[in-house]
């Protein structure tokens, strides 16, 4: 064994999940015995009396055995925001003191204490670590320790919250049987679509006798179909910016998105809109403008809402992947809801081109307004004003091209 291996082994022996002596043990042994021996040989009884407690503290304690553990009762992984309560169970074996790093702070408790209450705060949606109970066990007088041990991570994924919006003035109806929106296709509703010449296959009850009498040829009344709306929620995940312009270039730590930032607002709005439309019986799809492979096909029902909320978390995790946006394979006649801070012309051009293809486009601005300029630079106010002016101009141009624009999210 080389010297480096010996040093490495000695270092490993002084840490980790096994019992090992501390500096206090070495101090008690060497200083205690040293004082007693020196006192004996130098005929100084004081030295003996000072050394006796140290030697006795070693003699009265023994090296602990066994494997102490800290376990925690699992908490639900998919629960919503708020406070979750659980307990940590400390099994100290031969240890005397357990030092456990709890969410509320580190606590030193007796090694055989009852279960410790643990309060887990879930302040932000997205993936994260609920608990990691790092711990250390100390033997009598702290002369032997077990650890420090890095605890097991308990991870969770919190789905974006859903805010319930009031539904529009729609009549009550059995969900899922028929739609409530006028379809561009012909169908059997009461709303007139066209009057045209009779064709083989048309029902006789559709014949418009008045027009037939006037023209002399058979004519039928064609009506609109009623269908569920096809809503596409298109999420722009390229940028996550807040109201503070100075923070735009710095990463945010601690959560998936900046709290109150553009991406956070977009995801919350998308989840709420999806819930609202799905509750109405409409079909909802989700599209990530910069990563089309994360798209969710249109569907209905509560399970589809869970699928969309889960995929929103996945989209946010992959945010910033691409600087380009694309909106492909839009269902015919769908309503496109664009959620973006609209910080560049590319997204505005995408909205306009989608409108020109015949889709109804609703542009929801997720940029927090008003912007707060960077106070540390003399150009901060000017920069913030230029950004805001460009943003206003972009929204106005989209509105002029037939895109419905909401300025506030």
């Amino acid at each position: 064994m080389s010297r480096a291996d010996k040093i490495r082994e000695a270092f490993a022996q002084s840490h980790g999940a096994h019992w090992h002596p501390t500096d206090a043990y070495s101090r008690a042994v060497w200083l205690g015995v040293g004082l007693v021996v020196a006192g004996m040989f130098l005929h100084e009884v004081e030295l003996v009396l000072f050394g006796v407690p140290l030697v006795l503290s070693v003699l009265l304690t023994s090296q602990p055995r066994g494997t102490p553990t800290v376990s925690v009762r699992p908490v639900p992984r998919g629960a919503g925001l708020g406070v979750v309560h659980t307990v940590a169970r400390v099994d100290g074996a031969d240890a005397e003191i357990a030092v456990v790093k709890l969410p509320g702070g580190t606590r030193a408790v007796p090694a055989h204490s009852p279960d410790l209450p643990v309060e887990v705060r879930r302040d932000a949606w997205g993936p994260g670590v609920d608990l990691r109970l790092d711990h250390l066990f100390a033997g009598p007088d702290g002369m032997h320790v077990y650890g420090p041990v890095v605890g097991v991570e308990h991870v969770r994924t919190i789905l974006p919250p859903v805010e319930h919006h009031p539904s529009g003035p729609l009549p009550p109806r059995p969900a899922g049987l028929v739609g409530i929106h006028r379809s561009p296709r012909a169908g059997d509703s009461t709303e007139l679509r066209d009057i045209r010449a009779f064709q083989p296959g048309d029902r006789l009850k559709r014949v418009d006798w008045r027009v037939t009498t006037r023209t002399g040829t058979l004519h039928v009344r064609e009506r609109h179909a009623e269908a569920d709306a096809e809503v596409v929620l298109a999420l722009d995940t390229r940028a996550d910016v807040g109201a503070e312009v100075a923070d735009w270039s710095s990463p945010h730590h601690g959560s998936s998105t900046r709290p109150g930032g553009s991406l956070d607002r977009a995801v919350r709005r998308a989840a709420s809109m999806a819930a609202g439309y799905l509750r109405q019986g409409d079909r909802v799809a989700l599209m990530d403008l910069s990563r089309p492979q994360l798209n969710v096909r249109s569907g209905v029902g509560r399970r589809h809402l869970m699928r969309i909320r889960t995929q929103l978390v996945v989209c946010v995790q992959a945010a910033g992947w691409s600087s380009h946006v694309a909106l492909r394979r839009l269902p015919h006649g769908s309503v496109v809801v664009l959620l973006s801070p609209f910080l560049d012309d590319e997204i505005a051009e995408l909205a306009v081109s989608t409108r020109r293809r015949g889709h109804v486009v609703l542009a929801i601005n997720t940029l927090p307004l008003p912007l707060t300029p960077d106070p540390e630079t003399p150009w901060g106010e000017v920069a913030a004003e230029v950004i805001a002016a460009e943003h206003r101009l972009r929204l106005r141009r989209m509105a002029e091209h037939g895109v419905a624009v909401t300025r506030e999210c």
Partner: protein, 153 residues
């Protein structure tokens, strides 16, 4: 923070005794410096240096071997050892439950009782050069202690 404060409280009588038994401010400064070192780094050699320095300074000072200062220093130095040992395994911002300190406190009391029994024995043993039998007994007891400690290591 509680254990760090306990180190300071344990070192306070040590500093007072050494200052009273000395004619200069040197021992007070040394003990203060070693106390600060121990408080900041309880796992370092600061506690050993503090105990060793106080023991040697007291042993080679003038006065009766079992004077009041020595009797004060016996539990004080032991307390410095215990508090620094516990402070070394407990992070600074730790909430320590009183129940966790019950066992160390009980053991401290037992050790002190035994130590003061030994002190009482030392008080009645006659001093002087003709105490060969006591020295032989002491060396024998010390050999047993060293043997037990060596077996544990």
């Amino acid at each position: 923070m509680l254990m760090r404060l306990a180190i300071v409280l344990a070192a306070l009588p040590v500093a007072v005794v050494l200052h009273l038994e000395s004619s200069s401010i040197g021992p007070l400064l040394i003990v203060s410096g070693l106390t600060v070192l121990t408080v900041l780094m309880p796992g370092s050699a600061g506690a050993a240096l503090l105990i060793g320095y106080a023991a040697l300074a007291t042993a080679f000072a003038d006065g009766h071997p079992l004077r009041l200062g020595v009797l004060v220093l016996i539990p004080a130095l032991h307390l410095v050892h215990i508090t620094s040992a516990l402070a070394a395994v407990v992070p600074v911002k730790t909430r320590i439950e009183a129940a966790a300190l019950k066992a160390p406190a009980r053991r401290f009391a037992i050790v002190q009782v035994i130590t003061f029994v030994v002190t009482a024995f030392a008080a009645v043993v006659p001093s002087g050069a003709g105490i060969g039998l006591v020295e032989v007994l002491g060396l024998g007891a010390l050999t047993v202690v060293i043997g037990v400690v060596a077996l544990r290591i």
